[in-house]
Symmetry: C2
Subunit: 276 residues, 2 copies
DNA sequence: TAGCGCTTGTGAACGCGTGCACAAAATCCG
DNA sequence: CGGATTTTGTGCACGCGTTCACAAGCGCTA
């Protein structure tokens, strides 16, 4: 009954794939061929123990990381799964299972050392090596992203900004000059940018996406409300404000509907149970 | 192997709940008590056919809606599940199942009428009644949201803007004057605002959230990187840029790792594992 | 050192979502 | 008018993710 961004954000389908969208709420679109696991999904066991971590677990690990960092600032040295889980809004069983994907770094009867756990999660998420980010489309949203600067707890360095608007090119935004989108492939390749963020109008998104791919970007975070087509090796995540609102709208409608229905005598409170 | 924003955005856990996070990719967190279904999850059948639509399906329906609207503009009158699904990036079986939650509005051997399908999906998503939206925190992101104006395909009317900054109060942004956050409860109640969008710094998010709830808001879209505590009847969805980037970072690391491992013969670094 | 209590880590079961495959239905064509 | 073709709608089975529940392990205390 409640669970929204299934798995946060949404998985964006590939043109070359026949399946799709996610759950875990989220976010909301998932797809895959093999198991949903992230590691090697080969039928046989994974030899190198890359450990197949469920996508949903990865998202939660990122949440734990932030909570842990807040706790560390408060001077906490150890945490129990109970404390960490309630602060993160998940149940403790799930939290422990998530942490088990990372490894066994807890002490039974005691809990986890905050700094050890933090380091291990960062290791698994690949945060030890900062991934360079490029933002394309310097409108309101692009500005917000460019200035996001230190993303909470360690930042992803924004190494390049792009826009079509000639008047913007050369202008520094958040301490970084804007380049023209025609230079995307060149600049991205030169600077070794791994992640591209698309904050352009929908019409421009696909062509920008193509250029980013051309520039060797491995992952794309797409804020434009379109379904991007990318080669299979490029990971795409989508954040869609309109869809988020529509999902909420659905919930509002549902609640209103239930309330209305309740008012009507007919009732039948039995099955429906919760009154909300 | 690929599927990110599980179910889009993420479900935000409740303080009073013991469970949690979502799927369906994007952002990522889900939780619930009963079945993940959205309708009444009572054991018995749902008498009033509120039809329990999976959260992930709701998110996809919103995507179909946008694709349909684009097709309508191109003059399409009917669509087959195959066309619509490939344009939406899902497989046709899933699409048909999703549409079956809405009802049976297709014609076998022919397909779906674009306008009929559009109308029915809008009905199910509750888009026939426009939900009023308030945006809190008029920084870069808030500006972007306030100007988002016509969200692609029908807009959610932004009926109020709020900020703490006294210099901003009264200033029109996107054609609407900014009010002070202290007035949130009053204004929201007066204007019957159903959805609140939080685009404030993390530190202010919880208190803003409390005021929104106080003002009678039913759903909250949270862009601040914090876990909000809300009463059970308030639906919260979260969009977390930092987490999105971290998830992508994880994928980048994984790919790099695989590439590296393939190159190195010895391999099997045992414990420390990944080379990063 | 032995016992007790607390917390981790995980095996197993449940449930939801996904994908397959086919029957039902409607149109088209001969 | 009957058969071939196309496409919907769905029953069923598989699989992942969540949850439960408990054994294992560690520290503290007597």
């Amino acid at each position: 009954m409640r669970d929204s961004n299934a798995s946060e954000g949404e998985r964006v389908p590939r043109s070359d794939e026949a399946d799709n969208a996610p759950t875990a709420e989220l976010p909301a679109v998932t797809d895959r061929n093999g198991p949903a696991r992230t590691g090697r999904a080969a039928p046989g066991v994974d030899p190198n123990r890359v450990r197949a971590i469920p996508e949903a677990a990865v998202a939660r690990l990122a949440v734990y990381l932030r909570v842990l960092s807040a706790m560390a600032e408060h001077g906490a040295v150890t945490v129990s799964s109970e404390e960490l889980s309630s602060a993160s809004g998940v149940n403790s069983a799930k939290l422990r299972k998530d942490l088990s994907y990372v490894g066994s770094y807890g002490t039974r009867g005691v809990g986890y050392e905050v700094d050890v756990l933090t380091a291990e999660i960062e290791r698994v998420l690949g945060l030890t090596r900062k991934q360079k980010v490029a933002v394309v489309g310097i409108g309101n949203l692009g500005h917000a992203l460019a200035n996001y600067g230190g993303f909470p707890g360690r930042g992803f360095p924004v190494e390049a900004l792009f826009d079509v608007d000639a008047d913007l090119v050369g202008v520094p935004v958040g301490g970084m000059p804007v380049s023209h989108i025609d230079d995307i492939p060149k600049v991205c390749a030169q600077r070794g940018i791994a992640i591209g963020v698309i904050a352009t109008p929908p019409a421009a998104a696909q062509s920008v996406c193509d250029r980013l791919v051309q520039g060797g970007v491995q992952c794309i975070l797409n804020f434009a409300p379109v379904v991007l087509r990318t080669p299979p090796h490029v990971e795409v995540r989508k954040v869609d404000l309109a869809i988020e609102l529509q999902i909420l709208s659905f919930h509002v409608a549902r609640k209103t509907e239930q309330r209305t229905r309740r008012r009507v005598p007919a009732a039948r409170a039995s099955s429906n149970g919760e009154v909300v």
